[in-house]
């Protein structure tokens, strides 16, 4: 009764219990947009199998203290891992890519048929307002594609608060604790979404074949992600110069040349 086959049988049964049964969720139709640099960005849904490709790009951000990157990255890592290992219900993950390179990861969940829960927006390329595009794609997914009636949102950083709560005049849903830390939620209702449709539904479909193929071929490492300072005590001494004041380096280069 305790041979290998019986143990295997038990393992499969346990997994059936531990693994949630996801609702059928229509897939996110990929779209593309021209960003400020003139490059084309593709936003598409990431499949479970692609999660291990994304995780190594999220992990280093857990050590970047500024702009709340550390907490957002830590939570995103957990949420993506949970999605991959089938330990979370009804989650979706969208990725934004330029030339295959990962620029942003956004995720969220369906709480009920009608209510969505926005989880995170993590931008890995800065200076091009990619976060704005990624957030908008999420809202479009909940409202237009999943056909929901409202999305619950919270912000970890003041920038997020200004960009979402104030900008879209979100309704307070303070009686509903958000999954992210149990803090009071704000809501983007269908009505607010329609008012802001011009800002929240941007980009073009369908994505040209070649562009989509490049994006789907693989998720490439971000070329210029936020990085932690080399010396965690850099605030107390300027002996190290992790910001790269280039003059120091070029001087050393010059001196070496003279010595040769």
């Amino acid at each position: 009764m305790s041979g290998p086959l019986e143990v295997l049988h038990m393992a499969v049964d346990l997994e059936k219990i531990l693994r949630p049964v996801d609702r059928p969720m229509p897939p996110f139709p990929p779209k593309h947009m021209t960003v400020a640099s003139g490059e084309e960005m593709v936003i598409r849904q990431a499949s479970r199998d692609e999660i291990p490709d994304i995780l190594p790009f999220v992990a280093p951000l857990m050590y970047v203290e500024r702009d709340f990157y550390d907490i957002v990255a830590a939570r995103v890592y957990a949420e993506l891992m949970a999605y991959y290992k089938h330990r979370v219900q009804d989650e979706y993950v969208l990725v934004a890519q330029i030339d295959g390179e990962l620029c942003a990861v956004v995720n969220g969940r369906m709480v009920t048929e009608d209510v969505g829960m926005s989880l995170h927006t993590l931008a890995l390329r800065r200076g091009l307002r990619i976060g704005a595009h990624a957030f908008a794609a999420k809202m479009e997914y909940h409202m237009d594609i999943l056909g929901q009636k409202e999305v619950l949102i919270v912000a970890e950083s003041p920038i997020g608060f200004r960009r979402w709560m104030i900008e879209y005049d979100l309704e307070k849903r303070f009686d509903v604790p958000h999954e992210l830390g149990g803090v009071p939620s704000w809501s983007l209702t269908k009505e607010l979404f329609e008012k802001a449709r011009d800002t929240l539904v941007v980009g073009r479909r369908p994505v040209p074949e070649g562009l989509l193929a490049k994006a789907e071929a693989g998720i490439l490492p971000p070329s210029d992600p936020p990085t932690p300072p080399e010396d965690l005590l850099a605030a107390t001494r300027s002996l190290y110069d992790p910001t790269g004041t280039a003059l120091v380096l070029s001087r050393w280069k010059q001196e070496r040349k003279v010595g040769e």
Binding site: I166, E167, Y168, D169
Partner: protein
């Protein structure tokens, strides 16, 4: 309704100033309190305007319309606009209302509406 915003007329030469300055810009010949407060007219023409999206943290609205108005009589003033579609040259009428809350204080200023 009540509140006024005051310009200051130099007692020596009659030059109007808004806002207050200590020495008359025209004759330079007055003591600092030799000005008569004169309530500003409320009607004027909109000279220029903007809609500001990145507001200071104590504002809870996402956007704010601001403008410079040339009041009848020639004095110019900066104010908030409660106008759907501002146009350069449009006639406006102002009311003195709460324009900003700083901590628990209320600051009053001119809010212009289409005349």
């Amino acid at each position: 309704m009540g509140r006024e915003i005051y310009a200051y007329r130099c007692r020596k030469c009659g030059q109007l100033h808004y806002p207050y300055r200590m020495v008359c810009r025209s004759c330079g010949d007055n003591e600092h309190n030799e000005f008569d407060p004169v309530p500003l007219p409320k009607d004027g023409t909109l000279l220029t305007f903007t809609q500001l999206h990145n507001l200071p943290s104590d504002f809870e609205v996402p956007r704010l319309k601001l403008g410079i108005v040339e009041l009848d009589g020639g004095v110019r003033i900066t104010g908030q606009l409660d106008v759907d579609e501002p146009r350069i040259g449009m006639r406006v009428r102002g009311e003195v209302e709460v324009v900003r809350r700083v901590n628990y204080d209320r600051r009053y200023g001119m809010v212009f509406r289409e005349a």
